[in-house]
Structures are given as C-alpha cells and as structure tokens.
Amino acid sequence: MEQLVKLIPLFPLISFAIIALMNRRLSKPLAAVIACIGVLLSFIDSAVVFQSQLQSFHPVEVKVFDWIIAGDFNASFSFLVDPLSSIFLMVITGVGFLIHLFSVGYMKDDDGMRRFFAYLNLFIFFMLVLVLGNNFLVMFIGWEGVGFCSFMLIGFWYKDNKNNDAAKKAFVMNRIGDLGFLIAMCLIFFNFGSLNYSTLFSPGFLAESSVSTETLTLITFCLFVGAMGKSAQIPLYTWLPDAMAGPTPVSALIHAATMVTAGIYMVARTNVMFSLTPDTMTLVSIIGIATALLGAVIGLFQNDIKKVLAYSTVSQLGLMFVALGVGAYTAAVFHVVTHAFFKALLFLGSGSVIHAMGGEQDIRVMGGLKKKLPITYLTFLIGTLAISGIPPLAGFFSKDQILSEAFAHNKILFALGLLVSLMTAFYMFRLFFLTFHGSFRGTHDQEHHLHESPLNMTLPLIVLAVCAAFAGFVGFPHVIGQGLGLHNLFEAYLSPVLGVSSSHIEASVEWMLMGLTTVLIVMVILYARHLFVSKNYVPESDSHMKGSFKKLAYGKFYVDEFYNKVFTQPLDKVSLFLEKGIDIPVVDGMVRGIGKLTQGLASIARKIQTGNTGYYAIAFVFAILLLFIFFI
C-alpha cells in the first residue's frame, strides 16, 4: 500500500524526466505517449488506493524522506492518503489523463509539443504532491510547484510578450497569496510547534491548546489569503482570465479543473481550524459570494469563448468558497469534483471549437457550428446544462447542496447565490447559442476549414460528458435519497475528515428551493434561447457598444487598470525614487561626501606644506621648545 502511494506522483515525475532529458531525441508522438502513460499509470494507481480507502476509513501516512530538519522544526516529505486526498487524486489523475489525451491531438502541429507534455506531467506531479502532503510544507511544495508550471504553460508561446506578461502576472499574484500561506505556516509552527496534519488535526488538539481565538483567526485569515491567490478570489482574481493566454488544454486542466481548486482543498483540509474561527468563515463566504457575483456579471458581457469560461470559473470558485464559508465543506468538495468534470469538458469543447475555427476565439464570428461539429456540440450541451444546474446532471446536485446550505445559514447569501446561478445559466447558454446555433458569421476560409476533431480529441469529451452527466449521483441530497433509498455516498465517504454538515432544513423547504431554482433556471435558458436563437441577437462590436454598465462590465470593471495604477506603477515609481532620489544622492552621496570632506580639509591643511625646508626647521624647533615648556 505504502509503495503504491509513493508511486502515484512518481509516475508523472518519471515521464517528465524522460521527456525533459531526451527532448529532441524523442519523436513527438512518442513523447506524447510517454506523457499519457505516466498519467494513466498514476490514475490506475490512484484508483487502487481509492478503492482501498472506500472499504473503510483508514488514513495511510507514508514517509518518503526527511526534508527539512532544523532544531525542533521537522518537516519530512511525507504523504497522507485519506478520503479527502484520495478524491482529489482521482480527479487530478482522471481528468488529467483525459486532458493529456486531448492534447495529443490539439498540440500535434506545435513545435513545442515535447516541452508541453513535459510541463503537463510536471504539473500533475506537483498537484499530486499538493494534495498528498501530510504537512503544510509539502502542500506548499505542490502549491508553489503548480504555480511554476502554470507560469510555464501560460507563457507556453513565449515569443509573444502578451503571454509572458500574463504568465508573470499569474505567478506574482499567486506569490502574494503564497506569502499569506507562508506567514500562516510560520504562525502555526510558532503556536503549535508542528506543521503535521496528524498532530494539528488530531481530535481536540486545537481546542485544548492555549492558543487564543484571535491567533487562530489570524492563522486562518493568512491561509485564506493563500487560497485567494491560488483560487482566484477577490482581490487576487485578475490573473485567471489573463491565464487563458495558454493553450486550451492547459486552461482546462490547470485553470479550471485542478490547480485553481487547490485553495478549496486547502481550506477543506484545514477545516478543523476554520470551524473554530467564525470571523474568518464569514469573510470567506463574503469574499466567495462577491467573487461569484463579479465573475458572473463580467461573464455576461464577454465575447471571447475562453474569457467567458474563465470568468465562469472565477464565479464557480466563488460559490465553492461560499460553501466553505458556511461550513459545508463536503458540498464545496463535491462541487470541485463536478465542476472539474463539466468545466474541463467545456474548456476542451471550446478547444475543439477553436481548433476547428483555426484559432478564432470570438463568439461573435462563430455560429451554426452544430452541424459541423456534432460531437462537440452534444458534449458541450451536456456541459452547459450541467453547469447551469439542470437535474439530473452533476452540476445540479452540487449546486443545490451549496444553495441549500447557504439557505440554512443566511437567506441573503442564498438569494445572491441563486442570482449567480441564474446569471451562470444565462451567459453559458448565450455562449452556447452564439457558438452552435444560428448561421455562421465567420469568413469563408474559416467555414471551409470547419471540421469535427479527431477521435483522440472527441473521446475525452465523451468520457467527460458522461462524468458530467452522472457524477452527481454519488451525492444525492437527503430529501431525494430517502425517497429512492439512496444515501449520500459522497458525504458519508468524506465525513471522517470533513464532518457532517450540521445545518438541516426541512424537507419541504428543500424541495421547494430545488423546484424554485430549477424553474427559474429553465426560464432563464428559455429567455436566452428567445434572445439568441429566435431573435438572432449578436453582441455588437467593441466600437458600437452602448450602455455604460455594459461597457464597464465588458471592460471587466477596469480592475486591471486600477491595479496597474495603484500597485504596479507606484511600485515602479517608488523604486525609481529609491534609486534616483535616495540611493544615488543620499546614501552614496554620504559616502562620496565623506570623501569630498577629506579632500577639502586636506586642501586646506596642505597649504602649510610650503616645501621650504627652512620653515620646516623653524616649526620643528619651536614645536620642541613648546613641548619643553609644556613638560617642564
């Protein structure tokens, strides 16, 4: 068992090493095959481990080697497999493998295919380390490692500096969050003397420790800052839409399905701490709902197929944080899983569309792709329905769970969450109808070029569509489950780690909420259909945009510009001032000043040196006489 756990991250690491070292000596298809095999083996391995975890609750801790030891600080490179990490393992390797498979087709004409797969493998490795770590420091390895891979992959086409800027932005913004994480780790070690989960989260450890609630609040706050960075929450969300500069499979894997959910994983992992700090929990839910709303509003007006999905991701992540904030950890993790399926599906679907359109991403020039790309169309439809929350697709169950938990906690939170869901349904169907329905609005060249993607690209779509359709059944809400004699398997599985949600609302109310939500969503979809299919409405081009709010939202509320004005530019200015205003004139000036002073004094003193020995002799004699007078 222990060996199996060690092997999980080792497989992608080995395949990474092979590709990185062999590089040009490998043919492109061979590199792709190696990469896929690496992840596939890891997936099979994870499945075996997962299977064993399903039997009974028995966390497995595996020490790989000692890492950093300094005095009483001891962080070994060790893994922990428990229900929470095993679920993430399955998602990462499963979705990861499908996306690898998709990439084989998607990237086959790219010169950098080898390094693409090398980075993807490395990413999978770090992501696995992130969820497998049995202490915060190992999580931090993965945490930073995925950030690094994300940097490499966003800037994959490094010749264009726009991509590089986006990559750098992502890395730096993540780093801001990482600082929070780092400080949280320092605080935890300072107060508890350990970073190991097994010590920290052992029952009663935190409650019995003499650490004050204020300190715990500070710790959870710092942790949450870390989560904000990685999971793109306000105010650190602006990197995620820009990150779409990378190849589409990357957006699907890193910026939708796995890496961005690391923040959720982290909060869920530290749920014991978060549960003790209601203030942070409130903050989490407020930030979550605000991000969800902002993402949804911006998403309503975007015209770039990937940007819409990116903002949708931001918004969905916000919803997950709402769930975390109200203490519904299981619901959040459940949504992570379903979201991974349908969002990866949607991104890969968009990849298929972009592939067919020859790189075009603007939905205003698409349309009518239904006939040309039938498989993509069908799978995309399933994804869209799932994200909108139409029963019985996966999104419905997880979203419903979040909303009902929010309802039990706070009615306003619920109302806003519902609003987000409605907007989600609207912009997703706007995207869907504009892309696949109506008539083609692009150039003839593009129309001629339209084709369905090959099997190795459509197969992952189909598998993901199946998952997006049926994955929800593992987490039946209690009200439905009772009627059908089914349990909420998901909750039961995770309950040893995440606990069972305490908030319960009456069955009748829950049924009502479910009904209300579904009816409203269907109405929104019908409205979208009316608008974009029956009336053939197409968003106007940038220059003709009317309505100030629309412009504002299309311009993403100019948050980037704001950050640029308030942080980036002042930083440069301050730096420039420090160099030109302080370093050179003041600090170095003092040094030079001392030199000048010495020279100045010397130029006065040297006047005494006339060079005439007679004077020297007189001075000499008189000085001696003076000395005599002085001492006698």
Binding site: A70, Y158, V172, D588
Partner: protein, 482 residues
Amino acid sequence: MLTLLLILLPLLSGFILLLTGSKNARQIALVLSLIEFGLALFALSTLKSGALETLNYNMPWIPNMGISFRLGMDGISMLMVLLSTMLMPLIVYASFNKTYNNAHTLYALMMLMQSAMIGSFVAMDGFLFYIFWEVSLIPIFFIILMWGGENRQKTTFKFFIYTLFGSLFMLVALIYLYLHTANHSFDIQALYAAGRSLPLVEQGLIMGAFFLAFAIKMPVFPFHTWQPSTYVAAPTPGVMLLGGVMSKMATYGLIRWVLPMVPDGVHEYGYLIIGLSVVSIIYASCIAIIQKDFKYLIAYASIAHMGLISAGIFAMNMQSLQGSLMEMMSHGINTVGLFFAYDIIYNRMHTSEMTKLGGIRGVESRFAFLFFIIVLSNVALPFTNGFIGEFLLILGVFQTNMVAASFAGLSIILGAVYMLRAFQKMMLGETNSLTLHFPKLEKQEIITLSIIVILIVVMGVYPKPILEITESSIQTLLQGIQ
C-alpha cells in the same frame, strides 16, 4: 594540521601558478583547486567521524601579546570551507570560456584569495582572523584593478577604502575586548569571556562596531553603495569570488565573532539590526526591479538576499541560523550561476542591457532552461536550494520578530517580480536582430551550468546532509549563549 594544510595548499598553488606562466595556467589552477576541494571533503569526513582534535592547530605566534596561530573547525567553519573550496574549481572552470591576459597571475591571485578566505573561516584567534580578513582584500583589489572593466580605478579605490574603513571599527572592538581579557589574549574563548562580562551598553557598542565591518562587506543598506559599481567593474571570476564567497566571510563573521561574544547585546539591540536588514531587503528589491542592466540587477538582488541572512543571524534561533547557513551556501552557488549566465550573454552580445536583448530562448533553449532554474532558485521555489534557506530564515525570524518576518517575506513577491521581469526581457519574446545571432553554448559552458543546476536541485530536494553538518555546532553555539 589538516586545517593548516587547507590554508597552505592554495597559497602554494598561488606560487606554483606564478612560476608556471600563463600557457596552461587555467588547467593547473583547476587541478589544484580540485585537490583543495578533495582536501576539504577529507576534512569533512574527519569532522563527521568526530575527530575534532585533528582539525585543531595551535602554535604560539607573538606570545607576549597573547597572539597565537590557532586554527580550528566546527560544522559552521566546515560548511564555509566547503562552499569556498567547492566554488573555486567551478569559478576556475567557468573562466575557461575566455582567455585572460597574464592568466597565471589572475589564477594565482585567486588562489591567494582562497587561502585568505579559508584562513578567516578557520581562524580561532581574533588577531589572526583580522589578518586573514584584511589579506583577502589585497588579491581581489588587484584582480579588479588589472582585469576589470570601465571605471575600475575609481571603483576599486572606493571599494578598498570603504571596506578598510569598516574593518578599522572591528579592529578597535577587538583591541577593546583584548584589553578586557583576563590575561591579555586574542584567543577566541578569552575574547568570548571578555565580551560576555561587559556591561550591556558596551556589548551593544561592540556589536555595532563588528556589525559595521561586516555590514559593509555583505553589504547591507545603507553601506552597500560600493557594491553595485564594484560588481559591474569586476571581471567575472572576480565578481564570482566577491559575491559568492567573500560576502559570506561577513555573515560567517557575525555568527562566529558577534553572537557568542556579546550575546546580551544582541538580545537587547539585535532588533535594530533586524530592522535595518528588513529595510535593506525591501529597498534593494525595489531598486532591483527597475534596473536596466542585468549585472546591476544581480548586485541589488544580492543585497536583498544578504539582508535576509543578516536578519536571520540576529534572530538567533535554531531555524534562523540553520536557514542563514543554508542560504549562504545556496546564495554562493546561485550567485556564481547568475554571474556565469551574465558572462555567457555578455561574451556573446557585448551588452547586458536587458531591453536590448530578448528572445534568446528561441535561439538557444538549453541555455534558457538552465538559466531559468537558477532564476527559480533565486525566487525561492520549493525543491531548489534557495527555498530551504529562505523558508527557514523567515520561519526563524518570525519567532523572534513577527512583523520583521512578514515584511521580509515581501522579498518572495518582489524577488519574483524582478527576476521574472529580467528573464522575460532577456530570454523570452521575439528574437531581435542582435539575439538572432546568439551563438550556441559551448560544451564547457553547458557543463558548468549543469553542475550548478544539479547542485541547486539536489540541495533543494535533499538538504539534510548540509543541515546536519552545522546542526550540532549551532546547538553548541546557542547553548553557550543562553
């Protein structure tokens, strides 16, 4: 005896090189420095086997002044010796890509410097330490003066006077302590005892005097202004020695000569220095952001890293001290790596102005890959050696001073900003007319970079052996302080 040999061998190598002439000087230098490295490894194995006595050497020198030629090694000295003896062959090998005039003199001077630096790492007598400390200045002075670039006279003069100025304060402090020793001795234990018996304010002043000398050499804001211009003027081997090893003499000095000597003073006034170091970190990082020339950027980045090390030393706990030693080690390696990357670019493009470069990755991707790992280590990514040091440092400083540590942590953000900006400007983007003709790397360059990269990764993934070398010594040191 072994320790004495470690000092004498480079000295002897220097003379051998002076005699051989410049034809095969670099090969001979490489072999000799490798022998020295082997000797250091042998010393390490002796240390590990616990035979500390064999590493000690004591001979009266000026007996009626209480000065003796006393050498000794513990884990801390060992690590520093390892660092300098390991970097030396690397620096020599890195210089193979260029033919220097009077090469034998250059390598001889480098060997002399090696001898002096090792001497200062193993000296267990205050006077002897001071001698080695000052002697190390002479070879580097000539190296910069004779093989340097533009403005070398002016900058070397400034560098020399500036460091000498600081050392004088150290000398005064040493003499003051000497006068307070029981029977007038410069022996390290006697000086420790004298320092500890001083009243608090005097301890603070002694600390300040030592710190001034060391702060100039590290350097720490506001004593850093000699450094960027000197780095720029110095030839590559010289700047590698300066930034890679010589700056560690100062941080080593803090650990060896300040902490155990005036512990109460450090407890009482250390926060001032921690504060200054944190200011130094942020200040230097900010200035690094807007540098246009890569060599200046490395110089300022170096100041930021040294600031963190100095803060860690004055935080005085297990984590921060282990972190500072680890960071000294990795900073030495990374600085050599960065300067070598600079050298490679400059030799080919004859400019290191970053805006003029760009797109080198498109032409020479292997170089970009290796260079990037060195950059990553500088931004302290986990699994690189830079991370181990910085993490332990921040963790350690945090236990002494939370606010300072949080501000010091800003360096991981700012570091990412300037390093990635620099990398992007030079290596990424569209290839321009200049970089289009970037010649491929030679085998020797690839090997050098690869060694550095391997060191970075191995130390980052498995730092335990290195941490173990110093663990017990630091424990002893901390116990002595309490």
